[in-house]
Amino acid sequence: MSQEVKKGVEMQDYSVIGKRLPRLDGMEIVTGKAKYTDDIVLPGTLAGKILTSEYPHARILHIDTSKAEKLSGVRGIITGKNVPMVQYGFANFVRDEYPLAFDKVRYIGDEIAAVAAIDEDIAEEALDLIEVEYEELPSVFDPEEAMKPGAPRIHEHAERNICSNHVSHVIGDVDKGFRESDYVREDRFVTQNVSHCFLETRNCLADFNANGELTFWTSTSSIYLDRFVLSHLLKIPVSKIKGNRPFVGGGFGGKGETVSCQICAALLSMKTGKPVKITLSREEQFIADRGRHRWIFELRTGAKKDGTIIAKQCRAIADAGAYNSLSFLILMHSVGYFDIVYRVPNVRYDGDMVYTNNPPCGAMRSFDCVQLRLADDSHMDMLARDLGIDTIDLYLKNVSGPGDLTASRYKLDSNGLRECIERVRDDSGWRDKRGRLPVGRGIGFAVGASIAGAKSSNDDPDASSALVKINEDGSVNLLIAAHDAGQGSRTVFSQTVAEELGIAIDDVKVNFVIDTDIIPQDQGSYASRTTIGLGNAVLAACRDAKRQIFEVVADQLHASAEDLEAKDGVIYLKGSPDGRVSFKDEGGALSLCLTSKKVVFPIIGRGHFEPETEPFDWKTGEGNISIAYGFTAKVAEVEVDTETGRVKVLNVTSASDVGKALNPLFLEGQDEGAIAMGIGQALFEKLELDKGQILNPSFSEYKIPTALDMPRTIRSTWVETLDPHSPFGAKGIGEAVIVPMPAAIANAVYDAVGVRINEFPITPDKILEEVEKKGKLGE
């Protein structure tokens, strides 16, 4: 446990919080009862299919849909010419997309037209009958090429193909810092495109009725954002749009943006007057997916002989693909993630997100912090070796701490990174193993961090709301827009209600489906924001309901409502053993409420939370971007087969600053899943692109880890720092936990065979090539 206990939150004994409780929606899932979007059927539903560009960059001269329209069974076709000419995109200053391309296409996969037909086969056949006349344009696929003068311009507004603007952040005097350093090291790394690979592809069922109202069901991380975008594009007021979010088969950041299939389903339903469902095939999903960017990092670090870091510099260029998506926001975070883990006096970060004719990239678990730390933690491992210092000692010498204001102005009110590092060092046997393992075996270390809750900016309130409804029998309905895709937030917030009202979790019923007409708004599951954002709203709703009950009970006990507490089914007067009533038993608090004129049933508690707005500089990336920050450290042990180059991850030791562990079962699940995803990214996952064409759009060609790829031993532990901004002190950790995994493996591979792969993933062929080179050099 950390000694850091901040105002407002103290270590307490909890009855429900912190327990290993199973998921409340678990039986729904394991019995096959849980309904996902594609499981929902409306009578007369048409199947929708989308025609996409075959060219990476081309002008659309003409689209002829006449043959397709004549095909029996086709009910409606839309093209860029007959859909709203309104641009959309995540933030208003980066909007660069139309629902369907109308003037030109910018990548292979750019959506051109959509068909609704009585079944999917006919819709597909109709796509083949649509004739598109293109004029091919010169294209560019490498971000460094795309920035050069004379490169093809992909968007009219973007000079040198730079998305939004160049970002430059300088703190201190970096050149002086390098001059004063005893040692300076430089490295260049290139990361790869990685796909989300959630098992449920993106989809939408849309039903536009005769009253001009749109109802839709979709697999999403933000049903309210989808409703907003549809309202904006279709010019339908939000009051006439009802979004439903049923169970969701994974997201990992890839379902937070409204995309063409959702918009086209709505447009086709409006055109045909029938329900229309579009479910992407796996291949379509690989093409439409907006996964991790390919980054080029040039890193420079200057240090004293004793390992004190004096200056750090990063030149980052990333391939955004054909549209901005969330690229610009990701670049902003990259600035902050460069210095969040250290105390460094002199820092320079120069970054560009660059348009190319590759498929667009977007948000994926950690918002690309994982690539930055993969590069920087590899670089730091080499720096430590050059200096003759143990890598973990180097980090401990420079690590950021609680209360720090980072170079990028992040306020690290709680920060347990030092404790995480010490924990994994001790738990992994690092001291005994580092440098002492036989050839072919290696151990590696890395750190990670992530935002844990988004801050509001002026045009984008990041608000959460919750309703708690207490019924006469003592049962409680929790109404929340928890965008749970497996993290367990529905269950954790039910734990919150049980804890705060002092009742049993079995008495809490939480909604599994989010219906935007009924459920109070929450912005969604991104930025690891749910734990703090929605958590605070749930807590506020509980307190509002509790206050109403306490006022009634206070009269009975001749006490003040402020002096009452609720725990384990009883409401009692603090410090007085006699002053107590049962919560729900006959004659207890709820019986008193029934006869009281002060309250009526159901007792409704309302809660709302909106973080403070803080200034943010879009030119420098400077500003406190999150409510809190999560931290993690990992050690990986690997075995490299020097004959085949194959890497096997033997075990992983992990420690994460989660603020407060609300439900260890779910935390372990997040960590173990992140370890799997990190192994895939380190060792084999890569979207293979050739002139903008994805060569491996299937699970047999794009490999993700199976049960056999996992280490047989994983040790996940938690450091509790009790963040002052959050319910019970907890911080969202789903993103941070993946961050160190690839770098820990890369460093372990170096430890095992002494070769460094600077272009990821670390595949056997690259290892063998480097081992051979090294052998020839006689090292």
């Binding site: 394991v30 009862k33 088969g249 994974g250 299937s698 199976t706 996992m710 994983i714």
Partner: protein
Amino acid sequence: MKCLIRLKVNGETYEIAVEPRKTLLDVIRNEIGLTGTKKGCNMGECGACTVLLDGKAVCSCLVLGVEADRREVITIEGLGNGVHPDPLQEAFVKHGAIQCGFCTPGMIMTARKLLDENPSPSEEEVREAICGNLCRCTGYVKIVEAVLDVARSEKGGRDAGLLSHR
């Protein structure tokens, strides 16, 4: 032209006219209306659509509906329900072996088949058995734990109280 097939699904007999190119997965989901079986790739690569066909675990997206004529299918709905769940279903909940849940029905069917054939598998045998079922959320750790837990308790009798606790 449609073909008339007769198949038994979860103990009930269905007579359905299906187009010859429709997969068993589509027949189960769209004709019979059992949506617990999931479509993750439709290419036999992810295992989300795994069902038992005459007792054998198959990707139902790789079997044509007409091939299931006169055969018996068990889907996740037939394995157990909220009132009478299969021990695997309970163990998956208890161990936190579910996250988004999309791979879960197929994963449980594969695990059921494994335990029917090999009541006391080693950890490696469990991993081997489920390696055709992709999960992007869990890292498989808790799935393996859940299956091994059921193996231990089934071997010792359901009420023997051998369930392990972490």
